[in-house]
């Protein structure tokens, strides 16, 4: 039952809340107790910009059970202007169009449902700034 863990991660998942190290200024996401750059232990909360660029990506065609209805879908490592990298699903586009360097915004979306009767888990996904228009029926 992942609900308690999901609840603990709400500031990071819902608001993209990260931590800026008092010692060296490095921004870490998700937040940590110890800075990986200078081993400082004091952080101030900062909100990540809700935009970034794709560093690398892949397309998932055989997905975990909770994501069957969404597959195939793209997963990408996105770097924000704070030089934080996070792995997110890329949505609202053809998965094959997701390429390194692509500009994305980070949008609040439903990530997964805990089965038929469990809680709904929300977070952020990447959306291409200019989406690929499949225009299949036009």
């Amino acid at each position: 039952m992942p609900s308690p863990r999901y609840w603990r991660e709400i500031p990071g998942r819902y608001r993209l809340e990260a931590g800026r190290c008092h010692g060296c200024g490095k921004v870490v996401y998700p937040t940590r107790r110890i800075c990986p750059a200078c081993r400082g232990a004091e952080f101030e909360p900062v909100l990540l910009s809700r935009r970034g660029r794709v560093v690398t990506s892949t397309v998932l065609r055989v997905s975990p059970d909770d994501f069957v209805m969404e597959s195939p879908y793209a997963m990408a490592i996105v770097e924000t202007p704070e030089r934080v990298r996070l792995m997110v699903q890329v949505t609202d586009c053809e998965p094959s169009t997701v390429q390194p360097g692509m500009e994305v915004t980070l949008e609040f979306r439903l990530i997964r449902k805990e089965g038929q009767s469990g809680i709904l888990c929300y977070g952020h996904k990447a959306v291409p700034v200019v989406a690929a228009d499949t225009a299949r029926s036009r």
């Binding site: 608001r15 209805m69 809680i119």
Partner: protein
């Protein structure tokens, strides 16, 4: 005077055309397009619901207001598609927007009127001085049963309005509500799709309440239709708001900007609020605006608004309704639409 200090709207990128739905059920697409005046509608993605739409619209409302979310003392979300039967949408939206925990939160329901209901209560709390800022949101991922007339219109989207007393973008000059018990459209507990009374949804329901609310607010404010530059009425389809507006003495020119239903569909609780957002995207200082919602069951809320000098510079801080309606879109086949709307039974 209290008024709107920030607003935002959100419309998903997926679309399905009336032609594609008509083809699925062997109907004549031209008669749908002529009869209901609907070209296409928005479709929420698998990862979009009332909560995500509310967050997207709410973020733009806060950005346009440039207000610290911690100063928002009340948050109300009107919808008939809250993702949980028990557990509020508002708590998720408040956390995502950085509002609270010192905040009063509630989910509202009154068919398609729940959005203006949320706006009405938010405005009233600011008016009373009980809270500094209050947000009212109308959002829906509307349900329409397959092969029902509603399937051509039921869509996804919504709008958020932040009310306050300082740096007001749009003054609220008057409000009016008109409500009776009229069983024109309903969904019983446990039922997946709503039902409606066919033609009964017209004269005794939509037209009676919309026209009564509009006439009531005109009488109370002492204004005439020609005193307004814009008017928006709830949009269950393309035809009803035009007919109601005409009966009240409004011209097509006054209704054109807000009548976004032809390519957006009916976003239920988000319908007239999103039409209002499209108007605020272009309104000039001094312009008067009439918005009249309708919710089955049945009732209408009406607001007389007037744009201030601040509106033109503030609207640049968020996405416009037209940029979402005319911007990047993905056109779905009926099969993809059925999958997105979870109309397919899987063998788990």
């Amino acid at each position: 005077m209290s008024g709107i200090v920030g607003y935002g709207a959100y419309i998903p990128r997926n679309r399905i055309t009336s032609e594609e739905i008509a083809r699925q059920w062997g109907k004549d697409p031209r008669s749908i397009q002529r009869g209901l005046l609907l070209e296409e509608k928005s479709v929420p993605g698998i990862d979009e619901d009332t909560i995500t739409i509310s967050v997207a619209a709410g973020r733009d409302a806060l950005a346009r207001a440039d207000v610290d979310p911690q100063r928002v003392g009340a948050l109300y979300i009107g919808s008939e598609s809250h993702p949980y039967a028990v557990k509020p949408s508002g708590t998720v939206v408040a956390e995502a927007l950085g509002i609270g925990p010192e905040v009063h939160v509630a989910d509202f329901e009154f068919a398609c009127k729940a959005g203006t209901e949320a706006m009405f209560v938010a405005l009233s709390l600011v008016d009373s001085g009980r809270v500094e800022y209050a947000m009212g949101i109308g959002a829906d991922t509307s349900q329409g049963a397959p092969n029902d007339a509603l399937e051509f219109s039921a869509s996804g989207g919504g709008a958020a309005y932040l009310f306050g007393r300082d740096r007001v973008l749009v003054d609220v000059l008057e409000t009016y509500s008109f409500t009776t018990d009229t069983p024109d459209f309903w969904r019983r507990e446990g039922q997946f799709y709503p039902r409606h009374g066919g033609r009964f949804t017209g004269e005794p329901a939509y037209f009676k309440h919309v026209e009564a609310a509009a006439r009531g607010i005109l009488a109370r404010s002492g204004l005439k239709p020609e005193d307004f530059r814009f008017a928006v009425f709830h949009m269950p389809n393309g035809k009803f708001p035009l007919a109601a507006g005409k009966a009240l003495g409004f011209t097509n020119e006054q209704m054109k900007t807000g009548r976004v239903v032809t390519t957006m569909g009916n976003t239920y609780s988000g319908s007239s609020p999103t039409g209002l957002a499209a108007i605020l995207d272009v309104a000039e200082p001094g312009d008067r605006i009439l918005i009249t919602s309708f919710g089955s069951g049945a009732g209408s809320d009406a607001f007389v608004l007037q744009a201030t000098d601040l509106l033109p510079s503030r609207r640049e801080l968020g996405a416009t309704v037209r940029s979402m309606l005319d911007g990047p879109r993905r056109y779905l086949t009926y099969g993809e639409y059925a999958k997105y709307r979870e109309k397919i039974i899987l063998n788990h």
